[in-house]
Amino acid sequence: MSQRQVLQVFEQYQKARTQFVQMVAELATRPQNIETLQNAGVMSLLRPLLLDVVPTIQQTAALALGRLANYNGDLAEAVVKGDILPQLVYSLAEQNRFYKKAAAFVLRAVGKHSPQLAQAIVDCGALDTLVICLEDFDPGVKEAAAWALGYIARHNAELSQAVVDAGAVPLLVLCIQEPEIALKRIAASALSDISKHSPELAQTVVDVGAIAHLAQMILNPDSKLKRQVLSALSQIAKHSVDLAEMVVEAEIFPVVLTCLKDKDDYVKKNASTLIREIAKHTPELSQLIVNTGGVAAVTDCIGSCKGNIRLPGIMMLGYVAAHSENLAMAVIVSKAVPQLSVCLSEEPEDHIKAAAAWALGQIGRHTPEHARAVAVTNTLPVLLSLYMSTESSEDLQTKSKKAIKSILQKCTYLPALEPFLYDAPPNILKHVVGQFSKVLPHDSKARRLFVTSGGLKKVQEIKAGPGSLLQEYINSINSCYPEEIVRYYSPGYSDALLQRVDSYQPLAN
């Protein structure tokens, strides 16, 4: 036995290990192999390989583990139960950058599934080492660490607080300023995940000065980065008026409107979400948006996309219009009402229809002028049909009913009200007849038109309980007309008249 032969055995063993680990890592990329690998006990085999002497094997083993854990929660739990995490965390601080990247990948894959798994990672003390990795020289390592931190912070406020307590936020803000786009993207996403839970967490993100850096990147040509940046800003702005004002003060305003024209749908959605989150707080913020032409941009954005991407824009229009009548008028001037009514009739999904109905109700509830603007686009019949249809969801029904009511109570535009006399149920008919009873006493032309178009006849046909509100309204309408015409149009009058003819005795005989 020569020395060469002896060494050959070791070489063979090492080759075999390398090959095994590489094959497993390769196989783990395909979802259909995962179950077989799990049944073959791959976890217990990979664990010792994490402590291998050869760095390549270590890295590849970590990569394979990460891919397995990425696949589903059970495998991630198996990783946690196999006590692999402490090893990873221990070696995360020691090893080279490739290993760090792979280890951070495992942590991310484990942490993404559930809050419990993320808590297990936190319990292992991984946060401190991940934060140290954020200070690494290599952008890849930073990216992996930021990604893992973001996935941990995503679950709930306590985990986010843990990430913040580990001191990750300043380093994440530094990561945003790095030149690499991917790193920026992931750091922005992590900041968004941290700040979404509570005002305090958002405040910590703001205190580090994240907003200025985020706001600078809105014009970045990379659309995925834009998505994350806009989402982070909207998560910060959603909590309170102060935070929203901070976001606005970063001069985002005419600039963010450009994102509404972006090719990428999610950029559009996130930009509309950001505008919505800002607009919902106070009338002043809404007015700022209106003044910069935000409502027009959002309206165009709604027109240019479909489905769920429209939803934040629709809600934003509703929020702006809800604040005051001037703002609602500005919304009307921006030609948002036809767009909303298109959404109402086009969209297949009930929740979007409900949002559009709500927004229309908010626009039309202020003054007769507003109600008229909504009514001329012929949305009221659509709302009524949504309310009456059995297919629409309960939420949509209540929303459309509320919208119809609030618009009708202000509407004095009689041509839009008239069809409602014919096909509205009694609970809505009440408001329609009420509007007629308010308008007709003061408008002689409308009185005439009301008779000739058959409205008066229809009103006489309505069955109303004695003493009810509806009956009162009908009486007040009847009192605007001479008695003969009311009687002429009341049901059963022809019979009564003919009876009188029968019983009449001519005087000549």
Binding site: T292, D300, A330, I462, K463, Y489, S494
Partner: protein, 415 residues
């Protein structure tokens, strides 16, 4: 002495006399005494009463004076108060008038200034136009943004005066917008430039694609080993760039000319299935323009028609089982929606149509028409009946008619 004796003699008499007289007086004494008391009491009573009357009169005078004094005092007070309230009412009414004017003026001037609002809305729509215009990537937005932004800046402060008094944040917002204006424009310009660049890039790409397509189409002009192509002139030092492009391009495979589909019957409407799940849709059908198979086979359209004909349930199956219930529900809902009076509205113009139908005497009498033959076919003599119940009419579906002309068999066909 005699006198004394006489007197003494008379003394007994006197004593008797005295006694008698006294006793006679005694009889009236009580009465007289009572009378005297009465007289005295009456007199004294009169005197006392007169005195009391006097006292009362005096007291009344005093009280009258005092009460009159108090009353006058109170009256003065009331008059003063009344006057005061009257004055205050007047002042209040005047103040209301002044305030009304002032408030109306102020609100009209600062809050709900119609012309101001109109101008504001106009400015907003101008900004909107500017935003819409510049986002289409047309051109410079300087001047458009410039004047509308300036006008809006002015407005920012005043449309919500009440709010801005309440919290200073809006002041801040208005404050920072002035220096921000320049930066906004820079950013927007940057965006426009970016947009332009993107547009240029997209144009280039489109051009490139077009050229690629051209190259694929002209791939046959590529030079071969033997014969140089037209772009590879042997007289030139190096080949045309098109030659290189042609080398890279993949030849365009010429598509087969489309065979005109000749179909006597348009089967597409027959193929439309009633239910999406039950049968395959028409788009996954095999190609129709296949050659006719050799042999004694039926026409392919006929076979396909038979294969993919829609489900034709019998009438009994086609209706839902709870149709009556559903119809009732529908009717009830309609009624609730319509909400119409019970007695009908009958106009004069069609009064003759509303007459009640009066049946013939013949048909309304109970010795009316015989139901045999129209409703039942039972024997008229009840003794011959086997059971009491009427026969039920059952009409089985006539399969021959429903399947007529839809099967291969020509059995049912009448020639």
């Amino acid at each position: 002495m005699a006198t004394l004796a006489r007197l003494q003699a008379r003394s007994t008499f006197l004593a008797h006399q005295y006694y008698f007289r006294n006793s006679a007086v005694d009889v009236f004494r009580k009465k007289e005494y009572d009378a005297a008391v009465k007289i005295q009491s009456w007199f004294r009573g009169c005197r006392i009463r007169a005195y009391l009357r006097y006292l009362h009169r005096v007291a009344t005078v005093i009280q009258k004076c005092w009460r009159g004094y108090l009353g006058r005092q109170h009256y003065q007070l009331i008059v003063k108060l009344e006057f005061c309230t009257m004055k205050m009412n007047l002042y209040n009414a005047m103040a209301v008038r002044i305030q009304k004017r002032w408030r109306g003026y102020r609100i009209r001037k600062y809050c709900f200034n119609y012309f101001y609002l109109k101008e504001y809305l106009k400015a907003v729509s101008e900004t909107n136009d500017a935003i819409r215009y510049c986002y289409q990537g047309f051109a410079i937005l300087d001047e458009l943004c410039d004047h509308t932004a300036w006008r809006l800046k002015r407005k920012n402060t005043t449309l919500f005066p009440v709010y801005s008094m309440l919290n200073t944040s809006s002041h801040q917002m208005c404050g920072f917008s002035m220096p921000g204006n320049l930066r906004h424009q820079e950013a927007l310009e940057e965006f426009a430039e970016m947009k332009e660049r993107e547009e240029k890039k997209a144009d280039l790409e489109r051009e490139e694609k077009k050229r690629d397509y051209q190259a694929r189409k002209m791939h046959y002009l590529l030079s071969t080993k033997q014969i140089p192509g037209i772009y590879n002139s042997p007289f030139r030092k190096d080949p045309d760039p098109w030659e290189l492009r042609l080398q890279k391009a993949k030849p365009l495979i010429s598509q087969r000319p489309k065979v005109k589909q000749k179909r006597g019957v348009n089967i597409s409407n027959r193929l439309a299935c009633t239910s999406a799940r039950s049968l395959p849709q028409s788009e996954i059908l095999p190609p129709i323009d296949r050659k006719q198979c050799q042999g004694p086979f039926r026409d392919i359209t006929e076979v396909l028609e038979q294969r993919y004909k829609p489900l034709e349930p019998t009438l009994w199956m086609a209706e839902p089982i709870n149709e009556l219930k559903m119809a009732r529900e529908e009717l009830r809902k309609q009624e609730w929606m319509r909400n119409i009076n019970d007695n009908m509205f009958l106009p004069f113009s069609s009064y003759h149509k509303n007459k009640k139908y009066i049946p013939l005497m013949h048909s309304s009498s109970k010795y009316g028409p015989n139901s045999y033959g129209s409703q039942h076919f039972r024997d008229e003599n009840p003794k011959k009946w086997i059971c009491d119940k009427d026969f039920q009419t059952v009409l089985p579906s006539f399969d021959l008619f429903s399947k007529y002309g839809k099967l291969y068999s020509k059995a049912g066909q009448i020639i």
